[in-house]
Amino acid sequence: MPSLSATFGRGAATTFQEDLQSSDCILIMGSNMAEAHPVGFRFVVKAREKGAKVFHVDPHFSRTSACATNYVPIRTGTDIVFLGGIINQVLQQERWFKEYVLPYTNAATIINDQYVDAEDNGGVFSGFDPETKLYELDKAHWHYAGEPTPSAAVVPPEAKAQAWNQTSAAVKRGTPGRDFTLQHPNCVLNILRRHYARYTPEMVANTCGCTQEQFLEVAEQMMLNSGRERTGAIVYAVGWTQHTTGVQIIRAAAILQLLLGNAGRPGGGVMAMRGHASIQGSTDIPTLYNLLPGYIPQPAKSRQCNTLADYLEQEKVERGYWVNLPKFVVSLLKAWYGDAATQENDWGFSWVPRITEDHSQLPTFVKMAEGKVRGLFLMGQNPAAGAPNARLNREALRQLDWLVVRDFFLLESATFWKDGPDRPDPATIGTEIFFLPAAAGAEKPGTLTNTQRLIQWHDKAMDPPGDCRSDLWFIWNLGRHLKSLYAGSAEPRDGGLLNLTWNYAHDQPEVLPDGSVSRLQDEPDTEKVLREINGYRISDGSQLKAFDEITDDGSTACGCWIYTGVYPEEGCNRSRDRIAVPGRHVNPDWAFAWPANRRMMYNRASADPDGNPWSERKRYVWWDGEQKRWTGLDVPDFPLDKPPDYRAAPGATGMDFIDGDSPFFMHSDGKGWLFAPGGIKDGPLPTHYEPVESPASNPLYEQRSNPTASIPEVPLNPIAPPADPDYPLVATTYRLTEHYLSGGMSRFDSWLNELQPAMFVEISPELASERGVQHGDWVVVSSPRSAIEARAMVTPRMHSLRVEGRTVHQVGIPIHFGYAGEVTGGQANELIPIIIDANVSMHEGKAFTCQVRKGRLSQPSDTPSVPVASRPQQEPMPDTPTQAQPEGRSA
């Protein structure tokens, strides 16, 4: 989430779901929270019952809208217009929170003269190279005045989802020039004013399709619930991220929260709702190709960092918390290579793989489809149904030599060679597929890191059945086999594998909760992995208590610095803690939240510049003048003993540079970035671009869509041109509570399937009437990529909007179906194009164009691949008398 790290310093939700109940106004946008995150939505309901306004701004009226106090329909992909409109109102009406904004953000910072805003340049910011379709991030186009021009590329172009120090490094040295009188034309606030001046209520209504009144009500409530006494929160999810402008939409929200003084305060913040179990964990300890654990950049070949010293020099940050980077890197190498990592061999830095190009998912699958990838492991992934342009994905899988699928069921990605809408001929497919059954959550111990950075441990309840094994078992044993295969190799490139610490075997046989010994002999000890992630001292093996104990002299090892503290001493696994104090919503003894068990990040901002709570009502963390310490309900996100009036001495470096009123100390200047001088690849300010596929023109610019978005030009990925009469409808996709993702887990469960047994699309009565479709009819939905059939759910919950003076119909497409499982149906991903955004390689799954007609596809639809379970379980419960058997099993 580069947008959040570019605004606040760390790329994660700034707050936690429980705290939403402290909010006075919640704006849910780009999220179907009640359906996709019903448990967390509890706190939204609590806030609503306490009197908070809850706005749901969304293309379709969902269960979330039903539970909100106000619903505002908008055309999908116009979120920046809506948010920009609010920013404009805030600035026009001078209702930004001055006491917060001036000290805590870079509003007063002066931007250098080379900067040209998109408003003055036809929709592109200064520094755009039309050849590469990228901005020249190595030139100082968007930098603070007085910043030296970086000597090398701050971020290698092939790296997406960049590391946080690279964001921070955009402000490398000198104290930025500031004008607190806000007279300087190039101070950030004045740039903002000019940039959003055209986002008037008329323009918002005309572009988004809502009414001016609806828009102004949201704006007014957001402004009312700002200031010392009141706060508002913004909640988003993949409804924002899955756009070519996704990162910028989130940036717009973050800017708004800074202007309203809502970041780092109770009831405020930007709550990013993650879409998958532990997806936060999988970016913290990343499955991303260009990050090392803890948001440290993976070395890139293009930057020629042959030695650790080169690398550290390139990644160097002189001010703010990232000065500690060398400690994190050296300790990471010690954790990986153990005794083999020595000062002499550069701590084994040469064994760390260098990235050579964009290895993220979408480009990799495009290459795979071209036959350039030979093998693939799929673990908890289902690209044959669950990735955009599923047809292209299946074509790619068919080009593989081998494929390993580890999952619970034979889902689409394991049966694509015989089933599916392409009706493949198995004889023509050379892919050898290995299906390895996976253990379920209760059959293995481990942690999940949830949407609010909370690391929660779960114990193993029982052994998995048959050959089912945990993913950790698989990786560990695969590693052991590879190590034995490579044993004795003198090749330098094999050093990494051979020296990898892999000592996770159980010391004692594993004992299950019922006291019996596990029948599995070769499962690794998951807690040992967590202990290594937490970090320890090499000398005595004692656990590290906090990340400030991490050193760069090789005396500590740490697998992921931000997780330090989760296992602070022998036998103390804090992720297992489950103490919740009734009546309190900040519970530090309920599991462990990184960093340092802070539930709310940047909470220094919950106190005023002098360190006092902004108000009694909104007290959270404050400076205790007597104890000379920061204290409060949460772990303060600030150096504990740094007084509010601390001012950096000239020439100070590292954290000493951070003033006592700088809550966003992950940034070199300690400020929240209204204007992002770095860290974002498609502009320092969010500006409106139409989705690549859209029936409308860009009301602002000639530059219609995001100039940095790239579209792989392959035959299976055709794109509809703007305002294509063949595809006049706007499609958007979303989840239903009853299913999960592409259905790989849920469509094999009859309890869930009976609740949503068939694929349907939601269309408005007006569109239904135009197409002669009646409620419940079969319809065919087509895009340039493919076509699916579905039942028509005709409902006024889908709105046909007035956009630019004409009617735009939207089609709502749930994402959960596919061709494997107890229930099957057309999958939304057949229709979605692969369009890759510049920041994080995200596709545009939430806004594309389509056509709807009554009828069915010519080829019969897929029939269920497994029978419906008539009874969940027929066998009686063991050790239970007949009378006490569950009633459902009595028959």
Partner: protein
């Protein structure tokens, strides 16, 4: 699949939505369909005949002179014969037939079905003992006959009357003590089945007498008179039942069931008229016998159709959502919670 809405009005089809939220579930009944079907209708009919004929027999035994003995005996044979299928029909109707005896696990007169089960059992026992006694008196039960012969017939008849009486009348109350509007909404369903039970009992008796050519002329005349009176009362109560159902009668008087009910009413009515004609014509002979047979048959058919129509109407009524909602609307019975709450507010 829900049926789609009428597309004719100017507004486009609202699909899953409705202008009136009351209509959201308009295709889903409030009540569950009663599980009872043909077996129960057949039981209601046969049990009614058995109880009715036993009642007539016992009353004849109690009040009649020696010459009524033959009639009483025929009545008890008829009663036992029509009773024999009843337990099997009832058991067949159960979801768990092996547990039929759980009906008598407790004595719970507040449940009409429990009371009826006890009545059926007592009636069955009475009918069996009575018939055995009759056989014993004829010397057909040499082994235990001496024991049965000592039982006074009138005492047996007197003891049997209450159970037969309950059996004749509880079935209608059983249906009436449900939430199915077409059964619930009239107080007269019990009375209807009671009268029908007697009329069909008398008709069956008359039928059996004519067929077997048993019984005195006076008995036949009495039966004719009874049958005629019972049928007239049955017809009147039926009219009263339908009238007191008010709107809930829809399930019974519309459609196929309406035709059936009309058939039942017609059969009962015509049966009674023919009976009346025989009585007026007097005399004897084959012609009168044929008329009596016809009249009895019509009464029996009418009674059977009536049971069948009423039992089936329960399903139709339970499936009628609007009918149920209207029937269970606010009334002097209860204002309903919404109205009550809002007056409090």
């Amino acid at each position: 699949m829900r049926t789609t809405q009428n597309n004719s009005d100017a507004r486009p089809d609202l699909g899953a939505a409705h202008l009136n939220p009351r209509d959201a579930y308009r295709d889903v009944p409030i009540l569950k369909q009663p599980t009872w079907n043909h077996e129960v209708a057949a039981y209601f009919f046969l049990g009614g005949v058995s109880a009715g004929s036993a009642l007539i027999g016992s009353i004849a035994e109690m009040v009649g002179s020696e010459s009524r003995k033959e009639l009483a005996r025929t009545a008890h044979y008829v009663s036992l014969a029509t009773l024999i299928p009843c337990p099997f029909l009832l058991i067949a109707d159960l979801g768990k037939p092996a547990r039929f005896h759980h009906m008598l696990r407790i004595f719970k007169p507040s449940s009409p079905m429990n009371l009826g089960s006890w009545a059926l059992t007592a009636h069955g026992a009475g009918a069996t003992v009575t018939v055995l006694c009759m056989l014993a008196r004829k010397g057909k039960l040499p082994l235990i006959g001496w024991a049965l012969r000592v039982l006074p017939e009138r005492l047996l008849a007197g003891l049997g009357i209450p159970s037969s009486f309950v059996l004749a009348g509880y079935t209608g109350v059983l249906l009436g003590t449900t939430s199915v509007p077409v059964w619930h909404d009239s107080p007269l369903l019990g009375a209807l089945f009671m009268s029908s039970s007697l009329s069909t009992g008398a008709a069956f008796l008359s039928f059996a007498s004519s067929l077997t050519d048993r019984g005195h002329e006076s008995d036949r005349h009495a039966l004719s008179l009874l049958g005629c009176l019972f049928s007239v009362v049955e017809f009147c109560v039926l009219m009263g039942y339908v009238a007191t159902l008010k709107h809930s009668a829809t399930a019974l008087i519309k459609g196929r069931l309406g035709t059936l009910l009309a058939g039942a009413a017609g059969a009962i009515c015509v049966g009674a008229l023919i009976e009346m004609a025989t009585l007026l014509l007097g005399g004897s002979g084959r012609k009168r016998d044929a008329l009596a047979l016809t009249s009895s048959a019509l009464t029996l058919v009418g009674g059977g159709l009536l049971r069948w129509a009423v039992v089936r109407a329960g399903r139709v009524s339970a499936a009628d959502r609007e009918g149920t909602l209207n029937a269970m609307g606010p009334s002097e019975r209860s204002p309903g919670w919404r109205a009550q709450n809002q007056t409090q507010a």
